[in-house]
Subunit: 442 residues, 2 copies
Amino acid sequence: MRLSRYFLPILKETPKEAEIVSHRLMLRAGMIRQQSAGIYSWLPFGKAVLEKVEQIVREEQNRAGAQEVLMPTIQSADLWMESGRYDDYGQEMLRITDRHERQMLYGPTNEEMITDIFRSYVRSYRELPLNLYHIQWKFRDEVRPRFGVMRGREFLMKDAYSFDIDQESARHAYNRMFVAYLRTFRRMGLTAIPMRAETGPIGGDLSHEFIILASTGESAVYCDKDLLDLPIPGEDTDFLSDLSPIVTEWTSKYAATDDMHDAAAFEKLPEDRQVAARGIEIGHIFYFGTKYSEPMGAKVAGPDGVERPVHMGSYGVGVSRLVGAVIEASHDDAGIIWPQSLSPFDVGLINLKPGDHQTDMACEALYQRLETAGVSVLYDDLDQRAGAKFAAMDLIGLPWQMIVGPRGLANDEVEVKHRATGERQTLTLDAAVNRLVEACCG
Amino acid sequence: MRLSRYFLPILKETPKEAEIVSHRLMLRAGMIRQQSAGIYSWLPFGKAVLEKVEQIVREEQNRAGAQEVLMPTIQSADLWMESGRYDDYGQEMLRITDRHERQMLYGPTNEEMITDIFRSYVRSYRELPLNLYHIQWKFRDEVRPRFGVMRGREFLMKDAYSFDIDQESARHAYNRMFVAYLRTFRRMGLTAIPMRAETGPIGGDLSHEFIILASTGESAVYCDKDLLDLPIPGEDTDFLSDLSPIVTEWTSKYAATDDMHDAAAFEKLPEDRQVAARGIEIGHIFYFGTKYSEPMGAKVAGPDGVERPVHMGSYGVGVSRLVGAVIEASHDDAGIIWPQSLSPFDVGLINLKPGDHQTDMACEALYQRLETAGVSVLYDDLDQRAGAKFAAMDLIGLPWQMIVGPRGLANDEVEVKHRATGERQTLTLDAAVNRLVEACCG
């Protein structure tokens, strides 16, 4: 993509309304624009990152055996009256009356609707286990939306729902999502720690939040330092096998959010392993048994022919929130530092002297060579001074930069910069192309 | 995917509420479930088709130089007051009051919001041409939603918006979308005919609807038969070149919707070229000049330094509607006939005798061979009678079927069936695999 044709409205000034770094950087890098309080448009660069996050979430859900559906944003209030949550949910629920005076709402979550889908079709334990997920916009009418996409009103969430014949099978379903989450977040360059958590309005008796540590985190968290180095289950994980050893390994070490913190237990850890920090919640999983299936009549016949309510769990990932969370975890004074898995382009190719025939020719050739080799390139062909180009490229945080100017070209050389480490190398054109192809497609 | 693990709730009975064939077939094939009037959940098979439609639309928008953004579903009413459309839109607009008593609405379209984005960032003609699109859920509170996803209330639409310095450039932008639409619909196996149309509430003085012919179409349409055989611009179309010859070729032959029909002109055609039929609208493009940019102050400086309002167009594709439209255009008494480009799986592999060791082994091996070769397979491993299996596979309409039973296997043979033509061939296992790999990946 040529920058001269790319809609990337970079802001020179730091927007006053932004209180935290991810919000500031997303606005400055032309990723989002606020349309109303807590409601954002995603501009091309932001949309591209959001899609990468979504795709990683999708791949890991599919790998774990969940199946993708898509439920609508607008729900009938009737379903929520059936479950008994309509009045509980308070003002956070955006209530709507349609032209025929029917009570509707913009879904803040989908336990009721998925239970309704389930009860309409599934009759027998033979059709279980079942896990259905969707990635859809939700709305929660926060009193005071803030922190950009980290606490917006309209937000993109992945929510999965598992259905099992009994508690033991439901526990396996829970474990599959637990492991899928470990993999999902690591693929985004994050170290997410599962912590026992309160179940809140979803209900249930077993729940973990997945939390990343960041100084700007919304809540205090406590954990055993050993958790930061635990290995993540590999791509070859068999999700049909018993995953409880993995879950046990992750849950037997101390980790708790503020609500669930047990200071006495925490202090029994050797002092150098006591991590007290701030955390950002990026996922939350629940087992809640028959809380919805019972009132809503979602039953299946067991092997004995007797009908019983299904055991359910729900599993959320804050997809749009993750874009902010990754930035909170990965930035420096100059801007964002994307992990390669989420970056819309692998390389920013900087033409230091647009209009200079030789430099233009060299840049065009490099652009084509890299793209042909499968490296995606944002080619800065704008007529601007070098300083502004460097600042913009650092701000948007692509993993690699290739800097091309007439002086280097005289020696058949360009500069390659690695955004995360700041390391720069002067290389011949061929060596530079090889270096980037290896780094990005290797 | 194994059918025993796939959530594909096929209905045996034809749902009473469905008036048209696409609605009936989508319900029967377990693609969608109605949640409220005109509001649907997309089950895994339906969701997979929807995603294929979306991806083709996206690829052709990108090819034509449009850039993807994502605007929110909930908009502030203020923007619509600025453009003057807030009161015009009537009861079809879903109006919402948030907890702070602010007037909001669920966007039925996005001209206002995109104009707001444009005016916030773009100042100079040098940043033009610009075309931004998104694929997002919309809501129109139809008095009487019907025909399944063909006229729902919550529906998925691709809407693109072009910005140009003057009418002539805007015309080029219009032509790019015109050509992109021809390509988009053909890739879905459709013959879509652009017809001059009324501009309705969007406004403007140039507009084409893209219409496919179908006996169940919602409106009468008239066109020159020659249009049905015009070649579609190829993948190598240069969207930076002058596309007006293509557009002229398509627009110089008679084609009009009922509203714009000129019977005298139509009757001048030779009788065997007069096509009077029913049509389904699947896309609609508009040029409306400065209708929004003027009241909303979206101006850019021209080469002379003088500011002027930008010329705009908007370009819609009914993404969720297309799923129904394709079925209207491609089905038979037995069910849906998917074009390969939209089918969630290439091949349905039917095991005629699950539980029979030899047949199970052969099916497993074929399943693996096909998947490894890049052919996506839905493997019917269910313990059901053959008739039910054949009916279900015909109903869901995958392009190919491979039928495997003990009798054929005794001669190292299986049957391959082409869904569209009904043609069946008995082939050796190797020949059958080669045939399908060639057909699906060739």
